[in-house]
Amino acid sequence: MEKPIPLFSPITPAAVSRRRADSFANRAFFMITLIPVALIFIITIALFLRFLPILREHSLWELVSGVTWKPNKGEFGFLPFIAGTFWVTALGVALAVPPCILTALYLSEYARATTRTLMKPLLDLLAAIPSVVYGVWGMLAIVPLVGDVLRPILNRYLGFIPLFASNQPTGFSILAGAIVLAVMIAPFIIAITYEVLATIPQGLRQASLGIGATQWQTIRYVVLPQVLPAIIAGIVLGASRALGETLAVLMVVGNIPQMPNSIFDAGYPLPALIANNYGEMMSIPLYDAALLGAAFILLVIILFFNILSTIVLQRVLK
């Protein structure tokens, strides 16, 4: 007689409760994962609600295009701060990008494996230095360098260009902020560029080297065109970090609410405005709403750049 084929046994109470625990865990972890995501929305919405009181008195356009910041007189022009933010960030990124890309190219394309394993962690270490240390370094080293060396020289030879003209005596300036910022975002730009270069298959490089191209020709015509969008996205990601960097920059940038005309002018970026003033003189009408409005604007700008670059990078790195 043939042996009967065993059926699957009916589900036991123990299995039912196991299954329940499993689905509970699944849902619980999902909720926990949601918290940080939800926080972004909650913070954005909360900032906007606190921003509303001032929007009832002044239009958004009036605020972001206003150049006068006199809270006592009820004048809340954000433009000097927005301008300060973009000046410092743009200059910082401009200073950081060329050496960072060359560094990443060197590490990825030229360096031997031993050099790479030694240098890469050291560069990553730059990202671990606390902001305040960069700030102190900026005050002690960069501000004097800008004030006593770069400012006189550039002013003398390139002073006819408004960008390099200087009429203030110290080194607390956009340029000092930008230099500190450049060093701070360098490890990110290097790391991202390096990651992106690592996605290029070795065979593609060899296709070019194999017909007698030099290493540089291979980089120039084969490697770089392939990764350019991703590198740009990496730079934007670095820039969005730079936009939000607060402490180190505010220690060296001078913090005068004015429209900068030269890299030697003092600036006052948005994060510095908020960090310096929130919590003080809060009795001034609408001051609270103005500062939180500044925070809201900063957040929106950074989210925009971040999301944009993340989308591009995910496409390349997947």
Binding site: R112, A113, T114, P201, G203, L204, Q206, A207, S208, L209, G210, I211, G212, A213, T214, Q217, Y221, V222, P225, Q226
Partner: protein
């Protein structure tokens, strides 16, 4: 035999791991030499010593001589880019460059500034696409990205790209292993057509392909050359026990 490449006392290591041991062989001019052997025997490593690709590996070390037309390509005064121009490589998988079909073929000529004007480039691109048997299929889409071609077409494009810099040797590192049977046939047919003009060295692990292509055979095992000679002799009357076993499919 008219020798094109002569290898003398060649040894290679990856780190401390020996990959090639005392290789002494000759590659005849304008014939197809097939390097065969089980995987990991050093066939590809040997092939890559001919266009100095081995030194792209970190930690690879080479001693001995590779003479091309009697000149050692490992001498310090030899320009490696010229070696690679004159000794082209058809890789295992096609890697079209991230540019148009036309620019893929023109790339090498451009880099070596081989043509005087646009018309010169145009004529050469056509010539080499024809030589690789691809012209009819791509003549209407020359300026589209090369990545849009099928993998078999891509491999013929890579052949055209390599031929365009006027090499004297074509190396093939299992050049059909990633292709479908029809595309493989295409490539094999092209290699047979081209052998009168180019010295060809093909690495393969399929015995049938070796028999279809080879004029001359090198059989390798564990980093050593076990047997080398005219295909007829090696296939019908191997001198070494190992070769015989390999040909009978024992390993």
């Amino acid at each position: 035999m008219n020798t094109h490449i002569q290898v003398n006392n060649l040894n290679a290591w990856y780190g401390k791991q020996p990959a090639l041991k005392e290789i002494n062989i000759e590659i005849p001019k304008n014939q197809i030499t097939v390097i065969m052997g089980p995987s990991g025997c050093g066939k590809t490593t040997l092939l890559k010593t001919f266009n100095r690709f081995l030194e792209l590996n970190d930690g690879a070390k080479i001693t001995g001589e590779v003479l091309v037309n009697g000149q050692d390509i490992y001498q310090p005064d030899v320009d490696v880019t010229e070696v690679r121009k004159r000794i082209g490589l058809l890789a295992q998988r096609p890697y079209p460059l991230p540019m148009s079909i036309y620019d893929n073929v023109a790339y090498g000529m451009n880099i070596h500034r081989m043509k005087k004007d646009r018309l010169g480039y145009k004529a050469s691109v056509k010539h080499y696409l024809e030589l690789a048997g691809l012209w009819d299929e791509v003549q209407k889409r020359l300026h589209e990205p090369a990545t849009g071609l099928s993998i078999g077409q891509q491999q013929r494009l890579c052949l055209a790209r390599g031929l365009a810099v006027e090499p004297e040797v074509i190396l093939g590192d299992e050049p059909t292993s990633a292709l479908d049977p029809i595309s493989s046939q295409h490539i094999e047919k092209k290699l047979l057509e081209l052998k009168s003009q180019y010295t060809t060295v093909i690495v393969t692990h399929t015995l049938r392909q070796a028999k279809r292509l080879a004029d001359h055979v090198i059989f390798m095992y564990m980093g050593e050359v076990v047997e080398a000679g005219p295909a007829r002799n090696v296939f019908t009357n191997p001198q070494q026990e190992r070769t015989r076993q390999y040909l009978e499919g024992l390993f």
